[in-house]
Amino acid sequence: MTTLSVLVPHMNDPRGFELSLRSVEAQTWKGDREVLVVDDGSTASAFQKLCEIAEASSERVRVLQNPENRGRPFTRNALLDAADGKYSAWLDAGDEWYPEKLQQQFDALYRTWTKNTKQPVWCTTNYDWQWEGGRKRPREQAVDGNQVSNLLTGKLAAYLWTLLGTTQSFRDVGRFDLRLTRLQDLDFFLRFTEKGGRLVLPDDQAPLCVYHKSDIGRRGEEVLACFEYIYEKHAAVLMRYSRKFRRNRRFEMYYHVARFAKNNDDVPRTAGYLAAAAAHNPFIFAKRMVKNRGKL
């Protein structure tokens, strides 16, 4: 049995995969590990390139392939099914880990286990957020307090590629929801915390990975539909919170998808989503517009 499986979904981005793979190679944690890639129906040339990169790497890389493009949730399920490691860490092709990430996270997991906790634990990290062509901006994860609430407000960002946990703890959450073409991470995190799971941070509060962000090709209406589905799916949880809290989630949802629409030059939808956001909470909307000088 391998100690750690690094789980990488991939589609048509061999250069992004290479970037991610280099960051795995540079890890200071040198335990027994394999990189498991599931290709989700890339073109023949992209897949060929992926295999060449995998073969040239000093890491043990295992490449699997979906027979056709089946989407991110299906691919993540395939990764989890094929994972051989006692632990799993996620990494999306195109994102990077900093060298200390795994070492710090293993230490954090063990530190938690010394406290005799019975809770399932995932270790997340603070991270850098970098728009294409922009500079890195550090983001902090709020793990204190009510983590379900933190996930819903975004104070605790649901990003799989920040995580390290036992493979069993990921499997215990269940399958990734195939209906969620976007935001399947958020649903997965919510299910984990709702079942009593706990997210912890390493001692070192510095960012330990970087998210190279781009909204291009991510349609606002698709993200909106996924938000709506998640809120419906987790309605029982949402109902535990106040009306104001729920209204603000709707506000944030519309404000959030407006950004996707705007970054994809969809002006009518951008305007529509902003109007919907303003309708849910005009005060916060105005405040944010002033603060951001009209930018999303």
């Binding site: 040198k30 293993f106 407000t153 991510r218 993200v223």
Partner: protein, 266 residues
């Protein structure tokens, strides 16, 4: 998987601040499949030193062994650094160490255990004696075994590693000189009472760190007696220090040595 337990590691080699690639060759552990398990999650706890924590319960020992197994590279070696007193302290240290070794042996992942009883720096005869003297005074270790080749600790074969400028690389040697001085200063700080030159152990450690950072080192010609004499209130410890880092002595001179959700993922 093989586990190397290195006693005296924390004092002499300071693995938390020095790159392992520097000191592993000096220990004869140079191998691309060798890693050092820092076990930072147990730091700050005392019984087995900063790398093993208060392993008073078998659960903690089991966790430590699991951690070592997780850290081990494929077909490689993992090094666990312990303080010297973790093994040689009269009661607690020895018992905890025996428990650790026993657990390692019971773990199916572990193929072999080798214990290094003590890293004995042979940088300079005088400074080495200073450290020995201080450590003995603190009752931190027992006298060296008379037959070092036949040492066994808790049933483990053990060997004594002598590190000197001849066997280590240039960088490792310099790093160890720095670590060595740090060790002496830290031990010295533990010796003095609140009215002493350091005021408190914590302050002594801070001073030691500052001195080492500033490249002040214990002068090679300082004797144990002179050093100890300077640990009294009103002492002038700085007179025993030198700067910058001394060059390596020639081989012949070696004596003995409000959040928003705008970042929700999509």
């Amino acid at each position: 998987m093989k586990i190397e337990i290195v006693s005296g590691f924390a004092e002499y080699l300071r693995p938390t601040t020095v790159d392992p690639t520097l000191y592993l060759p000096a220990l004869g552990l140079e191998n691309e499949t060798t890693v050092v398990a820092h076990a930072r999650w147990l730091q700050g706890e005392s019984a087995l030193g900063e790398h093993a924590g208060t392993l008073t319960s078998s659960r903690r020992v089991r966790l430590l062994v699991e951690y070592l197994a997780d850290c081990a590279p494929r077909h490689g070696t993992v090094v666990l650094g312990l303080r010297a007193e973790s093994i040689t302290a009269p009661v607690d240290g020895g018992r905890a160490f025996a428990e650790l070794v026993d657990t390692i042996r019971r773990t199916r992942f572990v193929a072999e255990v080798e214990s290094v009883s003590r890293v004995h720096l042979r940088l300079n005869g005088n400074t080495d004696r200073v450290l020995d003297s201080l450590a003995e005074k603190l009752d931190m270790k027992r006298p060296r075994p008379s037959e070092p080749d036949r040492v066994a600790l808790a049933g483990c074969p053990a060997r004594i590693v002598d590190i000197d400028g001849q066997t280590s690389t240039e960088d490792a040697y310099d790093a160890m000189v720095r670590n060595y001085s740090f060790s002496v200063l830290t031990l010295a700080s533990a010796l003095v009472d609140r009215k002493g030159v350091f005021g408190s152990e914590q302050r002594g450690r801070l001073i030691a760190e500052h001195l080492v950072r500033s490249e002040f080192l214990i002068r090679p010609d300082v004797t144990a007696e002179a050093f100890e004499a300077e640990l009294e209130p009103g002492a002038k410890l700085y007179e025993l220090l030198t700067t910058p880092v001394p060059t390596r002595e020639p081989a012949s001179a070696e004596s003995d040595d409000s959040g928003t959700s705008s970042e929700l993922c999509a």
